[in-house]
Symmetry: C2
Subunit: 263 residues, 2 copies
Amino acid sequence: MGEFEFDADTHLSGDGPVFGTDLSDRWDAMAGVNGGYMLALCAQALGQALPFPDPLVVSGFYLRPGSHGPGEVRTEVLRAGMTTAFGQASLWQGGKERVRATAAFTDLSANGAPGQPRYTGVAAPALPPPGECFGLLPGSLPGAPIADRIEYRSTEEPGWLRGQPSGNPAGEFWMRFRDGREPDLAAMPLFVDAAAPVALEVGVLSTTIELTVHLRARPAPGWLACRAVTRYVADGYHEEDFEIWDSAGTLVAQSRQLALILR
Amino acid sequence: MGEFEFDADTHLSGDGPVFGTDLSDRWDAMAGVNGGYMLALCAQALGQALPFPDPLVVSGFYLRPGSHGPGEVRTEVLRAGMTTAFGQASLWQGGKERVRATAAFTDLSANGAPGQPRYTGVAAPALPPPGECFGLLPGSLPGAPIADRIEYRSTEEPGWLRGQPSGNPAGEFWMRFRDGREPDLAAMPLFVDAAAPVALEVGVLSTTIELTVHLRARPAPGWLACRAVTRYVADGYHEEDFEIWDSAGTLVAQSRQLALILR
């Protein structure tokens, strides 16, 4: 029926406040069900439960790993105000809560209106055109089917992938859905967690404890220019900041996560 | 009885899961009850409800402004694992929920253990000694009693305070409690929101929608070296990142908030 992969795999059943879902194995990235994918599911449910169309902030805590197969997303409207609504969503599977998410939703359609204060402290990533970049072919990362769903392009092959971590946990690269689905705000919680953690460049493997995404504007169609950086690795934890800029050069999403280093 | 101000004003009554509280007017900062103070209250309650001593991540959504006077913090244990526990706390006043917070707690006492991976991408703020810095006397910021509780020292008087915003929404400065209370993790949610927003340097007044704090290490006694930056102001919102380094040169807290610009 021509449905895009992300839409098929974030399909929810029911009218709420509890929605049925089925966690796909198509977004796995080495460490099991991807955290961004589960957060996108929670945001999707809140989009149906709340009276505004656009996620503004979505924050998720990862209580337990998710598993492939059926689950439910339980939503609660915390407050529906005049311009902002707040809600909570929990992803449950097999009688156990996996993710607890809280979010604020609003209407970002007036974005870009003139006369609003504007300041841009850091420019969008400066990358060669995607066609001139390094990319992975589908199937080339066994154990990470997410790389078959999302296309990455970077100036050169990441050091960790060549077995030579660069020592610099930062990167800029392009991303988009391989199947042609255009980016939207619903997909941003997935995209901010869809690239390999840049902490791999300092030899660190980790798992997400908490991930917060700020949605700053509705993305234009086309490639997404992304920037990831980890500034501090210490005492068993590190953060990762992630930015996504659309093809029009607008910052559309900004995230930070705290990850627990695996020994 | 010699109790420090912060401890007196975050006192909780009851054994949980619902705790009584009384919101003080001593931490106001122009815009009413300080968001960081309310988040600290939520974290305080979770510290009593959860089996680990140290907050690791605390994330709060600001549903409605808080008000001075009585309230209650309702806590829920989401998961108590072997090394990490997750909980939720809501601050209610007058039958309305004001703040919804989620948190992970752990035990950070093993911090600094050798052999753990470590990477520091950005050094601690380089500031002159506090005694050589600009500071405000108590009572000099009418409407902001928080400035009578927390002492700030910066290289020079902030531009916005002189009526000449610098155009650069970033700053580095010292902070500590004026009454001699030493910093600890419980106070970090307050400190990350206790300085005037650096967005004032681009003429922007705003109110917090969401604030997430990562706690990275237990602070040593003494002054806190702080760094605040807003990178993107656009379409009615801006983020603010905040770092706190202790007197031993260790990053102890890192936060990001999303704020709604007030017209």
